[in-house]
């Protein structure tokens, strides 16, 4: 499964537990308006750590944090790429 598919599926699982209407998951959707409050985003980050083996927020330091869903997915995709690069043997 792609990083994007894992992120979308985890968000859907968390949203299933709350009985409310949610906006569709588009790239420009602001994460805090996606029906996930900060606790739900924290849970999402933990479940993604279990599913993908990475938590880019622990590395996160200087730059602006992701605000939209598209930025959030790219944040994870970039972290996944750099962790693959890191684990490759030096040539």
């Amino acid at each position: 499964m792609s990083v994007k598919a894992v992120v979308i599926s985890q968000i859907q699982q968390i949203r299933e537990n709350t009985k409310r209407d949610f906006p569709p998951l588009t790239d420009d959707l602001v994460l805090l308006n996606s029906g996930l409050d900060s606790l739900a985003i924290a849970i999402l980050v933990t479940r993604l750590e279990d599913a993908l083996g990475l938590d880019p927020f622990t590395e996160f330091d200087e730059a602006s944090p992701p605000v939209t869903l598209g930025e959030f997915i790219r944040f994870y995709e970039n972290a996944a790429k750099s962790s693959t690069v890191d684990s490759q043997p030096a040539v």
Binding site: N17, V30, L31, L32, N33, S38, L39, I41, A42, I43, V45, T46, R47, D50, D55, F57, T58, F60, D61, E62, A63, S64, P65, P66, V67
Partner: protein, 463 residues
């Protein structure tokens, strides 16, 4: 000026004597109240004298209504029990009995013994109470059993840290992501009222983004919150709406990542993280932009005495809570007057760093969770043999609740995966039905057995 019996002025007296109160305000999304009106007026419909000497339960939907009532009632009520916004209703009867409540102040409908409505309309006060009391301010925090602990402060313990740090800035506008009915937010209300500032509060149901926009429009200069509040604010597109001069973090471990993020996001702001808790009061503030605190803080004589014993941070000062309302089965302080914060620290070089909590208490975004309370709820599921609840590190809220569960009959491997998934879902449903959202486990694992520590207790710390 009328004085309290020990010759301390009440919060309202001090507001009365401060200059420029006409231009200072408290406001939420819907209303603005001038502090000048507040010192001459009443938010209680003129019924303040009826509340003289009473033990008052303050329960409001709107935190601004609570703020106005608190300022009016200090020095008048004998005791003020401040209900936080998410207090489960089932706790009210026992809180009223434990606190010997004989009056309720609320912004909602009638009920209870003597009910006084507080609201945002300030009427001229015709009659002032004749007697003055050193009001007990009762703040609620989580307890192991789920029943809130009731901690007593008074105007001296609550304002000691403010009095000694008071500066003369006159154009301060405070904002806080805390609710003023919790210790962290109450400190900001008192700083605004007793300093020379104003305060902008969030309204019930207002989103972080909308609150940030209002803070920006009103030119907020000082903002406080937990590291989790700040991580959430930085994820909001409206984070750019504010340009504070001072940023304050407390209530949780402030790690280097959030301190660095704030510094790069708000380069103009002075950033301080403070150690404070409902029990220990405001202890100290760190201003060098680094996580942890300098070792020189420990053992230095001053208003706040700090020592490390058995790896945990202990604090003695005139700012700590005085006692529990009902004594409780635990003493608040040791024989020398030190309060054990339960926060484990480690000395590396010339700095102490926070490692976590001693008794397994989990700090989810500044809110305490006792593992025992969650374990008791999980154990209600008939298939559960035993459960252990631990803290799991989280880069958004600092920590989250995680549960390891042993199913009856050692059925973890023999049970079908679908059945385990069903059990997990049912356990989650039980937790969601009886626990506040931050106490519900974020992850549940079914494991064959649990590790026991040497004394035969469940091992809560994961290596």
């Amino acid at each position: 000026m009328r004085m309290l019996p020990n010759r301390l002025p009440s919060i309202r007296n001090r507001l009365c004597n401060a200059s420029g109160s006409r231009n200072r305000f408290l406001r939420n999304a819907a209303a603005t109240v001038s502090m000048g009106d507040l010192v001459r007026g009443t938010s209680l419909g003129g019924r303040l004298p009826e509340l003289s000497g009473r033990s008052v339960l303050l329960t409001t939907r709107d935190q601004l209504a609570a703020a106005l009532a608190l300022i009016e009632l200090d020095g008048v009520a004998s005791r003020l029990i401040i209900c936080p916004p998410d207090l489960p209703l089932e706790h009210l009867p026992s809180l009223m009995a434990r606190g010997a409540v004989d009056a309720i102040v609320s912004d909602q409908g009638p009920g209870g013994p003597l009910q006084v409505i507080c609201n945002l309309d300030i009427l001229p006060a015709r009659e002032e109470p004749a007697e003055f009391h050193l009001t007990e301010w009762v703040l609620l925090t989580s307890g192991t059993t789920g029943a809130p602990k009731m901690l007593i402060h008074d105007v001296r313990t609550l304002t000691a840290a403010i009095d000694s740090s008071q500066n003369q800035e006159t154009d301060v506008v405070w904002g806080t992501f805390y609710d003023i009915r919790r210790f962290g937010g109450l400190q900001i209300l008192l700083r605004a009222a007793l300093g020379r500032g104003s305060l902008v509060l969030s309204s019930p149901g207002e989103s972080v983004g909308d609150y940030l926009l209002r803070l920006g429009a009103l030119g907020v200069t000082h903002i406080s919150g937990t590291p989790s509040h700040w991580r959430r604010a930085l994820m909001s597109p409206q984070a750019h709406a504010i340009a504070p001069r001072c940023i304050r973090l407390s209530g949780e471990i402030a790690d280097q990542a959030i301190l660095n993020s704030l510094r790069s996001f708000y380069p103009q702001a002075a950033i301080a993280h403070a150690f404070a808790s409902t029990e220990a009061g405001v202890a100290f503030e760190v201003n060098d932009g680094l996580e942890g605190f300098p070792a020189s803080v420990v053992g230095t004589p001053g208003e706040v005495a700090i020592k490390i014993k058995d790896d945990s941070l202990r604090i003695r000062s005139a700012r700590t809570a005085l006692r529990y309302v009902d004594g409780g089965d635990e003493a608040l302080a040791d024989k020398e007057g030190f309060i054990d914060t339960g926060d484990i620290v480690e000395l590396r070089g010339d700095r102490y760093y926070f490692l976590g909590r001693r008794n397994g208490v989990i700090n989810v975004g500044g809110l305490k969770v006792y593992p025992e309370e969650v374990e008791a709820v999980i154990n209600r599921h008939p298939a559960v043999q035993i459960a252990v609840v631990r803290s799991r590190r989280n880069s958004i809220t600092g920590s989250l609740v995680s549960a390891d569960v042993v199913l009856k009959g050692g059925s973890d491997t023999s049970s079908a995966n679908t059945q385990i998934a069903d059990f997990k879902r049912e356990i989650l449903q039980i937790c969601q039905a009886s626990l506040a959202a931050h106490k519900v486990p974020a992850t549940i694992r079914c494991v064959p057995m649990l590790e026991l520590a040497a004394a035969g207790k469940l091992a809560r710390h994961r290596a």
